[in-house]
Amino acid sequence: MGRLRLVVAGIDDTVPAVRRLVLAAPQGGELPSYTPGSHLVLDVPAGAGRERALANAYSLVGEGLHPSRYEIAVLLCDPHGGAAGGSAWVHTLRTGDPVTAMPPRSSFAPVQAATRHLLVAAGIGITPLVSHLRFHARWGREAELLYLHRAGRGALLDEVAELTGGVASPFHDRADLLSRLRERLLDQPIGTHLYTCGPTGFMDLVVSEAQEAGWPASRIHLEHFGLDDLDPGEPFDVTVGERRFEVASGVSLLEAMEQQGYAVPNLCRQGVCGECRLDLGPATTGVWHRDLYLTDDDKAAGDCAMACVSRALPAADGRSHLEVSL
């Protein structure tokens, strides 16, 4: 996997607990382009309380055409509260520090055919949507933003004000945002797509409001990172060669394989880095991919899966099975 070698070129800690980090090539110059809503996966070294190396995904703030810098906004998640320590590490970086990353990957792009975009963000979930807003502003696309954040904790407020002409005044109260959202969901022309990013509970609310207003699934798009966001899923069984074992609900294939003594390479354990990719054999009944790494074509082929997040889907007879070929 080709890593990008970057250095920290700028830090902005103005908003409490939200660090804006600018990364650039060590000698300057152009970085790989990316589509709006893409994320960057940073390598997080072991040490300072981290037992092993990690990889964490962060949404890019920019728009992505011929960039000379990558900018991310990282919310500090408390390792004592169960976070793996990636964001805490980002908050210790200093200007000039080297950082390696995988090139940006797209997972939450604006729908090209859409005639209008309704964006609904909460907290740090504003990051990929600012990237969308920049793109829409550049191409003159119609976009509307509803943004919820705690008073005094809003990230990227200057960009939001600039890109929405100041009309998207943020909400500090969830109930206020929801009542405005209900109104706006009823009044979007055909061709509008909805994008939401924020904590899982928030996005669930947005999705259920949209469904309530008659929005079909194909117009609703959401983005979230993190293992605890994922549905525990149903149990399924796995064969690796002659061995057969079960993966219980709430346990990942990666964890189950580790318990069985297999060493599966991994970094992020949340479906973003690509390290834990496994080849699957034809006895596989179906794959619920859930990763942000494989392309749509890879997923449609159904012959590989990411051990950290993917699970088996049942066949018509109800059996759920993955045949792993190591």
Binding site: L222, G286, W288
Partner: protein, 183 residues
């Protein structure tokens, strides 16, 4: 993880541009999640069967906001749909009953107006007739045809193979000369 809210559904193994309901007559159910429903009845084929399909839908939609149009032919149906969609809001659903040929043409108008596949449903009463678009002269030929049949192009008289591909934006089947290689 990311994607549309339907992400948990597995991909169909082989995608094809020819909908099942244009291979054999099928009636899709109403979508009770819709807020407003346009129901289009295209009566240039089997009127009785078409009426029965629409009656079933209207019963299932009792109490919902419904705009029912009875249209004499495909172009009237397309006009009725386009008219309804001008001021329509997301939450709108469209149901079309009639021949597969009419349904494909009306679906194409819906696609051009920005409707998604999960906002349209079809009730097909016959699949005998197909419209074939000639890749050589761009004429459209309408005839009683099965997929993979051969038909003389109404524009250039070339013998066209009715290829199993339907354009989403026109609703027409792709047709090209059978012996193109030897010609």
């Amino acid at each position: 993880m990311t994607g549309t809210a339907t992400e948990s559904a597995p991909h169909p193994p082989h995608y094809t541009s020819v909908p099942d309901w244009s291979r054999e007559p099928l009636v899709q159910p109403v979508d009770p999640l819709g807020r407003v429903h346009t129901v289009i009845e295209v009566v240039d084929g089997d009127r009785v069967a078409t009426r029965a399909v629409v009656a079933g839908w209207l019963a299932a939609l009792a109490g919902a906001q419904v705009r029912h149009h009875t249209c004499e032919d495909t172009s009237a149906a397309v006009a009725a749909l386009e008219d309804d969609l001008v001021a329509a809001r997301v939450g709108h659903r469209v149901l079309v009953a009639g021949s597969a040929d009419a349904c494909l043409a009306v679906r194409a108008a819906g696609v051009r107006a920005g409707l998604a596949d999960d906002e349209m449903g079809f009730g097909v009463v016959s699949v005998a007739t197909r419209t074939v678009w000639c890749v050589h002269c761009s004429a459209a030929t309408v005839a009683e045809l099965a997929l993979d049949d051969v038909v003389a192009c109404s524009g250039c008289t070339r013998n066209l193979l009715v290829y199993p591909h339907v354009s989403r934006r026109t609703g027409q089947h792709l047709g090209f000369m059978v012996d193109a290689e030897e010609a």
